[in-house]
């Protein structure tokens, strides 16, 4: 009965076809553009590593690792800085592990989900975003001045521990959370108390995850420079430290002083580059260990 009037065109086939070629071309072009931009970061990384390597060639040798600091670039070495960095790790490792695991256990196993829980959690998230230099000022005020520790290894170590604490806490929380509930229930079923369950079931199971977090935190700590500068480690020829109450220098500090002084003595830039290589090698080894632990010991349930 109804007469079909003019058939309304929802799609104009001609226009679509005309535009199709450009749309597809644009899509292809943009794909390569995005790929190039992804590669840009990698190219810069390669240039950076190559550049540091070139600058360090001829300077990085056994004598450089064994010698003490010196104003004479030919005789300068970084044994003191290496010892200082190792000391820092000896303090930061146990302290963050102890505090980090404790905090994570409290949040995951004991605290009721409520105000206190979310307060501590928010607080940790906020701490993770505080610039490292502000932690340096905290260390300067509290550890160096109020506690009277001076610019010692222990003051630097405690400051660094607070700085990287959020990393360990978050990693430990994730590790503890990934322990399946049935393991806990089995332990309770055997008559174990809560603490026994944590000690014998939860912690051993989550240890690989926690250790990975601790190693990553340590590798952040030994690369950090700003808090140490603020704590007031002088640019002097510091002797190799003997105890944790001695003043010290660390690898990144040495890079810093040699870089800014390279304006005065050209060779200092080479010393800085050689120190960077040592620092990067240490970081690479630590990260490899973290990856190995994660892949090898982490069980999946």
């Amino acid at each position: 009965m109804e007469v079909v009037e003019e058939k309304k065109k929802y799609i104009n086939l001609e226009v679509v076809q005309k535009k199709m070629a450009t749309r597809i071309l644009l899509n292809k072009l943009v794909k390569y553009l995005f790929l190039l931009s992804t590669l840009f970061g990698l190219v810069v990384l390669a240039v950076l590593l190559y550049r540091v390597y070139i600058d360090s060639v001829g300077w990085l040798n056994l004598d450089f690792l064994r010698n003490r600091l010196s104003t004479n670039p030919d005789r300068a070495g970084i044994v003191g800085a290496i010892v200082g960095t190792v000391w820092l790790m000896i303090i930061v490792g146990p302290v963050t592990m102890f505090l980090g695991i404790g905090t994570a256990l409290y949040l995951e196993e004991y605290a009721k989900k409520g105000r206190i829980h979310s307060f501590i959690q928010t607080n940790i998230t906020n701490l993770a975003g505080v610039p490292s230099i502000v932690f340096g000022l905290l260390g300067l005020t509290i550890f160096v001045r109020v506690f009277g520790l001076g610019s010692s290894i222990i003051a630097g170590g405690l400051t660094m521990s607070l700085l990287v604490l959020p990393i360990v806490v978050v990693a430990s929380q994730e590790a503890i959370r990934s322990v399946p509930q049935f393991l806990r229930e089995a332990s309770f079923g055997m008559g174990a108390t809560k603490w026994q369950t944590i000690k014998h079931v939860v912690l051993p199971t989550s240890l690989p995850g926690i250790l990975t977090g601790v190693i990553l935190a340590l590798s952040r700590a030994i690369g950090e420079t700003a808090p140490l500068v603020v704590i007031g480690i002088p640019a002097l020829l510091i002797p190799v430290p003997n105890s944790m109450f001695d003043t010290f220098t660390a690898l990144p500090m040495q890079v810093y002083y040699w870089t800014i002084d390279s304006v005065l003595v050209d060779e200092y830039a080479n010393l800085a580059a050689a120190t960077i290589i040592v620092l990067l090698v240490i970081l690479f080894i630590m990260n490899s260990i973290a990856i190995i632990i994660r892949n090898k010991f982490q069980k999946r349930y």
């Binding site: 749309r23 899509n27 995005f34 970061g41 409290y106 906020n126 005020t141 990144p252 800085a272």
Partner: protein, 311 residues
Amino acid sequence: MSKTVNVKELIQQKDRVSKVRAIVEKMIPTVLFLLASISILTTVGIVSTLVYETFLFFKEVSIIQFFTSPELKPLSRVDPKFSILPLLTGTVLTSLVAMFVAIPIGLTTAIFLSEYASEKVRKLLKPLIEVLAGIPTIVYGFFAFTFVTPLLREFVPGLQATNALSPGIVMGIMIIPLVASLSEDAMNSVPNAMREGAMALGATKLEVTLRVVIPAAISGIIASFVLGISRAIGETMIVTIASGSTKNFTFDITQSMQTMTAYIVEVTSGDAAAGTTAYYSLYAVAFTLFIFTLLMNMFARYISRKYREVY
């Protein structure tokens, strides 16, 4: 040959052990709570030292002068002048340069990894990009100072040996992985059904990305930008080394200028004794820095939570 077993004694022994156990069981939560409160104490420590010393500073220097005067001469013996304006311009300019690098490259990297790359390519490229985030900032500082600045001076006439441009660019490169991985996470959480719907209507991948994926993931993407800016503002070593210590109130990025973080490094590196006005000025600057970064981090979390589309 049997040993006599005193049942009574055994029961007593068991009682003793379980009593100790009960005490341990009760103490553990308290001990763990104390460990957890260290992180709260840290925050309290940071805020209270900053507030207290800043308060002392503003007793000596007027707050209006501090935020409006363009002159900063903290170590002048005759007439020291305190103002945060030159440091603010330094911080804002270097961060702006950094974001000019980090936002386009970080976002396109995220798009490539999440929308275009095959699973194989993604697994290869992503960890490599993350390496950029693991390099210590002091190494970037060295790179900016000894390589990027001399390179830029070939192309940019009038570029000083220390300037805002070179550390800004290097800082941007450092922030690429942050922007890329957070944006990628946001895009990955957009369900495939939406992409497939658009594709079924004949859209190309680019159109799907621009009109479906990005709008759906926009809250996470913007949060990643804000977090990137906050990182740039708080970054210390790159700018300390490569942007110099001239307290210029200028908007010219070829000039040497000091950021808030670099000022803190300069003053703590020995020149100002505790108790002097210059020493207290540290805390006023650090307090400003702390507030800036805290607000940005909270803002980033707020937008990513509030405007997240849940599917």
